[in-house]
């Protein structure tokens, strides 16, 4: 979205902060990485921090504000800074108004209006759409944070069975949105990635401007056609959470916006995920996501099919947590007039430990290895295969009032 940039801090600095809840956090990293030049810096590396970013780095600076208006309305604004050099460095990741009426005979409606995350990820449970298990998200949900945002309205209807003596709760969700026409460009032209950065509403991806992924705007309306998603959520007690979603941005792939130098990418996918927890502190999360994205330049249809799956196992022992995750990802350029096209296969292994000392201090360490074979690297004169590793130490301080 190309909207005045001064907006970024104006709301947070407003005097009405006195009401509601303010959250601030500082996340610093110590990085040792041998990754290829990152897609954020003109390369096609999969990591947020490549071999040129060893040492102390900003992980994330975050400020969020929630304020109820009366009984049933709540305003939530979330802003973050990921790197000082970024375009609109401090910018919103989410900003929405939620209408949350009381349940009636076991049924409850909720309406969200604004910019927010679709309920796809089962990993991102902590404030600010943060993954509390590992520093870096799965390939699937890294992509969700990279390219997707609901900028529109969402309605969800829950049947609260556990409140009337049953073992299950059932939820249905549907949304209509605009400003997500570029979604698809990253998974097609960059391939999958694994990190914790989220694209901000007025931000860019690939700031330096001359790389394969250069100065991309992700949240823009190009064809004036709204997209939609529909989903189902089934919960067994508070133990098992199953989610299915179908997403379709209904973009017109023939439309091109010279202002952002991009097509409307017709992107649709299905996602299925499950999270199971035990009283012994174990958490399992598994998710599959598969879909396609299409553009139609003058040379003809370009069609990519993409899919990824991951499994994560985590064990909490008091304030300590150990987590492991395996990711597999694949993109097939099934129809192209640009041989060899942009094809990818890859996998990643991630292991992490975290220690939540108290409500303020959190320490985490994570090791990740990403192996990928991406044909797009031949266009920039690199070998198509890459074996990238990163070790991160994270220290986070959070304040809430």
């Amino acid at each position: 979205m190309r909207v005045p940039t001064a907006l970024s801090l104006a709301l947070l600095a407003a005097p009405c902060l006195a009401e509601g809840q303010l959250e601030l956090s500082v996340d610093l990293r110590l990085i040792a990485a041998d990754g290829r030049s990152s897609y954020l810096d003109s390369g096609l590396g999969k990591l947020r921090f490549d071999e040129d970013h060893d040492g102390l780095q900003i992980g994330r600076l975050r400020a969020a504000w929630s304020r109820p208006f009366g009984e049933r309305l709540n305003l939530h604004i979330d802003a973050s800074l990921w790197r000082l050099e970024d375009h609109n460095a401090l910018d919103f990741t989410e900003a929405y108004l939620e209408f949350r009426p009381y349940p009636s005979d076991g049924w409850r409606s909720r309406i969200r209006f604004g910019a927010f995350y679709a309920p796809i990820s089962l990993e991102h449970r902590a404030a600010g759409w943060t993954n509390p298990y590992l520093i870096s998200s799965s390939a699937i949900n890294t992509w969700v944070g990279d390219e997707l945002r609901t900028i529109g309205a969402e309605y969800s209807l829950d049947w609260l069975g556990t409140r009337s003596g049953h073992d299950f709760d059932l939820g249905l969700v549907a949304a209509v949105y605009l400003y997500n026409d570029p979604a698809g460009i990253l998974v097609a032209s960059r391939g999958w990635a694994l990190h914790d950065r989220q694209t901000t509403l007025f931000g860019r991806v690939g700031e330096s401007g001359d790389g394969f992924v250069a100065n991309r705007v992700l949240f823009e309306e190009i064809d004036d056609r709204p997209g939609y998603y529909v989903g189902v959520n089934l919960r067994y007690l508070d133990r098992v959470d199953f989610r299915y979603m179908h997403y379709d941005n209904r973009a017109d792939p023939a439309r091109f916006d010279p202002g952002i130098n991009d097509f409307a990418w017709l992107t649709s996918f299905d996602s299925i995920g499950v999270r199971a927890e035990t009283a012994g502190g174990w958490t399992f999360i598994g998710q599959w996501l598969g879909g396609e994205t299409i553009i139609e330049p003058d040379s003809g249809y370009e069609v990519w099919e993409f899919s990824s799956v991951f499994a994560m196992l985590s064990k909490a022992i008091g304030k300590h947590r150990i987590s492991f995750r395996a990711d597999w990802f694949d993109t097939d350029h099934v129809r192209t007039s640009w041989p060899p096209g942009l094809e990818e296969t890859g996998n990643a292994l991630t292991a992490g430990y975290s220690y939540e000392r108290d409500q303020h201090w959190n320490f985490a360490v994570e090791a990740m290895q990403v192996e990928s074979d991406f044909s797009g690297r031949s266009f920039i004169g690199e070998p198509t295969t890459a074996d990238e590793r990163i070790l991160q130490l994270q220290l986070r301080y959070a304040l809430s009032r």
Partner: protein, 158 residues
Amino acid sequence: MVDQVNLTFTPDLAVIPLGSTVTFPNSDKVSHQVYSFSPAKRFQLPLYRGMPYAPVKFENPGVVTLGCNIHDDMIAWLVVTDAGWSGRTAGDGSWTVSNLPAGDFRVEIWHPRMREPTAPVERQLKLAAAESGKLDAQLTRLPRPEPLGQKPRSWGEY
């Protein structure tokens, strides 16, 4: 009193006499929004911290399921009863009552995991003075699993 501590109702189940009142203080730093849509008592306590509201009076017998409209994981039960003697059993199922005369008793037993979620099962029991009796009732569903460990305060709903 049913308190709210670390995003959990405490106690999670209480047996109260018909016509009694219950306060719902919120000891958490975050706001809660307590509700029940159980037929025995429908009520809502708008978003609050601390203890801003008058006690709630329970004037109909039955099971009242409590929830929080902000935190869907929070659940608790109040059993409102007009029985002459009532209480919550210990973890081993035992329950002791003093000053009970000898005689024939109708005993109602309820557990959140019984097939019929709002109606107790009934058993007959004949007791002499100072005697213990034993009643069996079969739970038709697995006991609710142990509570999950406390979630970090910063976790939300996504």
